[in-house]
Symmetry: C5
Subunit: 364 residues, 5 copies
């Protein structure tokens, strides 16, 4: 049975039960790993595609900032090699390989480990939240994305094009730029969800089909997953803000406060959308009720009108020998007239009750 869409967010890759701590569950099916190193300072930039570990060691010696950008989890050995070279803690490296991790900021003595989650939007595909792992220390940063993608291209182009202040700041500013890119990726998603909700809100009122409730459920699941991710994301950003210099300088702290603000804005919109989703479900239910009432009213009007008339007709269809009315010359027209009167009376009663008005007339 195929997985229902609302449950896909909660599955986790993890090592087999009984593995010792720090053991890693490699996924052989993961795609290829792309990686490169960027070394920059105020004066210049060096970009090296897939350098050797010795090459990295040489780059770390030079002043400036070294950014190692790994995309894709296919090549586990590489990440472990990098982890050893940068003296990362094995538990932190293991977290890279077992997405989804809860977003968090973990300060270690020599480096900071940040886990963020970003939405991965592809046309017509359901929402996915990819894990972005970030390690940084004095003069270096290592970012590892779950899948190759364009998330950090804007950061790279700012460095290459020397736009903004990034080239004259340290690794903490680079870390800020990376998490800011991760948070910015939520805004197009919010717009897409907002369009879906606007459409569902209209349909729930006008055409309350089963499809509306199914799509509404799907949006609700996405919002729930986003809500669950953004709560710890905010905490992680505040944790980063609270770090002391030299891990986060005072200048960078102002920028991080701005990113935490954006994260809060995303969380606010998500929460508002969640209430909109509840409102759509309520509107749908009351539209369906209204529809059922209309059907019921039609049945009641027709049945209440004709059943008494039918009775009168059946009455004079009886075969008794002595039914004086049957022999009257004006019996038939008289009965027809009586029936018309009854029907008219019924219709006036129904009209007064408002059962003949069409539902559209009820709205101003």
């Amino acid at each position: 049975m195929s997985r229902a869409p609302s449950l896909q967010f909660f599955r986790k890759r993890r090592p087999p039960p009984g593995a010792h701590p720090g053991e890693i569950a490699h996924e052989p099916a993961a795609g290829p790993t792309r990686w490169r190193a960027l070394h920059y300072d105020a004066d210049g930039v060096d970009e090296i595609d897939e350098p050797t570990v010795e090459g990295l060691a040489a780059l770390r010696e030079r002043p400036g900032v070294l950014w190692i950008d790994v995309q894709g989890l296919g090549d586990g050995a590489l990440v472990q090699q990098l982890g050893d070279a940068l003296s990362l803690h094995p538990l932190a490296v293991a977290d890279v390989f077992h997405p989804p991790q809860r977003p968090k900021t973990e300060p270690y003595p020599d480096f900071v480990f940040v886990v963020a989650r970003t939405p991965l939007i592809r046309n017509d595909a359901p929402l996915r939240l990819e894990q972005l792992s970030l390690f940084y220390g004095k003069g270096w940063a290592l970012t590892i994305q779950q899948e190759p993608g364009e998330l950090l291209d804007s950061v790279r182009s700012h460095i290459l094009g020397n736009r903004g202040v990034i080239r004259s700041e340290g690794a903490d500013y680079l870390a800020y730029a990376v998490v800011d890119a991760a948070i910015d990726a939520y805004f197009p998603l919010l717009d897409a969800l907002g369009d879906d909700l606007a459409e569902l809100e209209d349909e729930a009122l006008e055409r309350p089909t089963k499809s509306v409730i199914r799509r509404n459920n799907r949006v609700r699941s996405s919002l729930l997953a986003l809500h669950r991710v953004l709560l710890p994301q905010k905490e992680a950003l505040h944790g980063l803000c609270r770090l002391e210099a030299p891990l986060v300088s005072d200048t960078v702290r102002l920028y991080l406060r701005d990113t935490a603000d954006h994260c809060q804005q995303v969380a606010d919109v998500i929460d508002s959308y969640r209430e909109v989703v509840i409102g759509i479900a309520g509107t749908w239910a009351s539209s369906v009720d209204n529809y059922a009432n209309e059907v019921m009213r039609a049945l009641t009007v027709v049945a209440s009108l004709f059943i008494p008339l039918n009775f009168v007709a059946a009455l004079y269809g009886m075969n008794f020998k002595y039914m004086p009315e049957l022999d009257l010359p004006y019996g038939y027209p008289a009965v027809l007239a009586a029936m018309a009167c009854v029907a008219a009376g019924m219709l006036i009663y129904f009209y007064r009750k408002g059962w003949l008005r069409r539902p559209e007339d009820e709205d101003e």
Copy 2:
């Protein structure tokens, strides 16, 4: 497809993805920008319409308070010029141009940055919440409204007319007067919403049409948006209260406490209205149920009354050769009498069950 009303609150203007921090998304369609400077002290007032930046620098030299009042975001260059002249942080200036920002109080070393949101009521237009940005430091304040409006006219007339104590106090009192005006603007909105709710409450009980639920949803969305804005607004006011002298003097702190009180009162009424909205939805649903029951009852009474009678009539409409009753001289009257008895019995049963009483009789 036109945007559904309940979603309009959550759209945000922001720079294109990949912009560097502090970059601003200018909106070419924004209307013209009006601005003026007011310099005052206990002895006098100078009002200058659209002064030059050099003129402002001269005014800042003089003792007293300089208030620069900018209305409309159309002229982005002006605001950035002012920001440079007053040494404002680029991230704070960027927030001015990307409404809606969450209300907040951000202390910088030399100035305080306050974001407030105020309702913009126009006849028959749906609710909008405009952003009011306020910067102030020693001897100066800069206010920037998202759109030209009369929000701060009362503050200006107090200064020009020397009413109250504003002329003998510093820039912190001016800041108080501005945020107080922003909060006061909520009270007429509360009255308007209260009138809408009173009307909806009556209609939900008396005429539960689809329009009631639609308008109720609209009010609910407005209340939700207000609720989401007032929570951080309160925090921002408390943050302002907590600032140390000289940013906020002890005298002004008492006034700000009063404004925080007003903000709390607005938030209380909003929360009460939200429960009223839930109550209206409940009343509506029970009115609709009642209505459906009434329709159902009518059908049941008519059908249960005539279907058995109809059966008796059909019975004696059969064409069997040997049906002795048909030949009895009193067969027809006897059957009519029997039918009347059955009908009377049914009516008495229905009456006892309470199915014949009109719903109005059920209320005392």
Copy 3:
């Protein structure tokens, strides 16, 4: 359109927009103001009706406690005169005139300002919560009630009759006695609401009319208003408890803790009642559903019983020339017997389904 009852709690009197801080909205329609002064110490009591401001100044000189008791807001000038004489802050005095204020305790350097709310019960009138403003300092207290009433008569009689310890304690004990009287006034209201709820609970089960839901909504609104008042009331009492000596002595603090306890008990009962109200709405809805089911069942039984019989009768009412059964001598009795069998089978089926049992039989 008349104001719906559930909204009346949230209207507020306030100065016109644009008024300067501390400006007061006088209400010309407010009734007459009654006031008197009570000066007491362990040895004796002086009660003076509507003393002059000079007389009050003389009384303040003497040792002991001076209590000025103002009832009704009609005479704004008097209160402002008293405020000037006692050096009260204009913002605090303004709060007296703009009910409803949120209950609060505001310590000023020379006095304490307390706002409390008390229920005003009149027969058959809907619930109103009146504002009681209390100022007290060393050796004096000033109480201002929104409308003349008997709320503080018990405090006065304790002083006049020298009951309890009030005469030997200071102004802080008097302040305690006043807020204690304000909290005690809630208990009769709780009893009245409890009686209403007990009645509604029974009716919702036995006679679920529209009136029940309407009265239940009204009680819910009252409880909501009480809940919203009691939360800040508790905070205000705890704020009073936390004040340092000499504003609140250690002895009086024990008494205030007792009053805060009472306030908590009132809040607990209110919260319990709110859940009872939700339970009544649920019971009502399930009673209505049950009733609808009963109606539906009656229709189903009658229609399912007679429609098949009717068909058989109509069958033999057809006018075909060759219908051999019609000529059989026992055709008619045979058909009657067959109909009786069908009817009996149907009835047995309905009985087994439980559709013939009366709903009362279903309860043990």
Copy 4:
């Protein structure tokens, strides 16, 4: 009108409005008061029934612990005498006489005052929560139960039988033993409520009568009352734990932590039961809906089957002179065959729709 069961928990005895603080509302109808004193140390026990106040004074002189156990509130004078002898604060003594008090721990300079609530289960009687008041100081403890009962018999038998460590510990251990007995009394109540809920859960699915919802409401009220009592009970226990030595020794603190654990376990089960109650209401509602659907389906099947057939029969019952079919020799059998075909088609359609399956068949 008799009090509805869900409201009985929220009535409170209190002095008449206007009483001075510490005044007591004696209830003349309260039953007789039983009391005794127990003096013990590691070496021996003395039990004295209804000793004189002088006798008590003598016992307090001796080393060891004196426990005065009062059962029933009928003899108010006795309690006040004891309060005077032990120098208890009048406000605390007043709380003894005005149940229900919120559970609390109030440290006074020379003694600790604890209010606990325990369930009083009698066969077939609705739940009552009795107040247990406990005062203890150095070398003495005073317990006052609202009604005579066996609650503290186990504590007494531990002392008399020298079981456990109670005889070698001080008055704080006795206080622990008393509150532990009060909390232990909740466990049998939890079992009884659990049995009720298990029964209701089954009935709601199988026989969703009105009685189920009524009994479920009653359990919900009991659970609500228990929830409201247990929250402050936990706080009171933690307050007791936090008291410094010598009021609570380190040894006794470990025991009190255990009791607080038990109280938390009771509160957890209560909260779980509250969710079970909500689940039962939901199950009931869906069972009733299912039942209504079944009734509706029966009506639809019968009516849709016979109404078209009836029409055909009525068609050939018309008395037109020129109806050629009527004269065909095989007209009648042909019509019967056509009717059978229509009926069979209908039945197949209904079967495909699943409207003929019995609801039991739908469950696996």
Copy 5:
């Protein structure tokens, strides 16, 4: 009556009322107890099955870590003997015997007591949460499982196989390994619950039978029980993390933080599943409503179509002598044509209303 599944989680074993603190309720029916001791250090491992208490004392003398692993609560005397030998507090030992205890970390002067709960999954059996009690001090650890099982086999094999760092760390690392195994046991359970929910989500939309709601209720109960267990579990883990060295070394604290992370992830998934369960109930209810509407619509279409036609037929079945239409040669075909017109008009009306479309067509 058999216990309903949703209540089984809340039953607790406890000593009879009136037992003195620390008394233990032995359950004679409990199965046999298996136990063994493992002594290890970096150089080697000794495993001894059911050693004597003297043997244990000898092992404790040696450097390294001694792990005593007891499975099953049948042999109470053994546990009490061990408790005496290790100087455990009687209240802590009593907690071992009275499951379910709330998960907790209790530091005592010489040892730490941890209670954890782990799921016990057996095929087709409902969920059970077993209690795992852990005591550890310097150089030793004692684990007691409620029932024999394979929970700690992975820890044992890590020690025996010298995998990971466990052999070179102290008893605090062993304690970490044990609670980590307890938390890891939740992940397979989450997968099983996720599969159940995916199935229920599909069925609720496609085949909304009573069985779906019953199974959904069962999953909801399990999730509730898990939620209630995981909250204190997280607290217990954080409590363990907060312990000072030497109880928890800095190295082990990093590992415990990782376990607390896992526990949080489990709690997050549980909370997400709880919202999925609510969504399934909503989907089910709207599917049932849809189904009821479809049935109702079928009845309305059939009845509204044929009742008027039937009336016309009955009309011309009347036996009046003077009914001129009956004698017209084209009367019969004319009536048939009129009937066809009426029916066609009705069908067009129903089609326009959308009452003839099949519900599947409504979904895109």
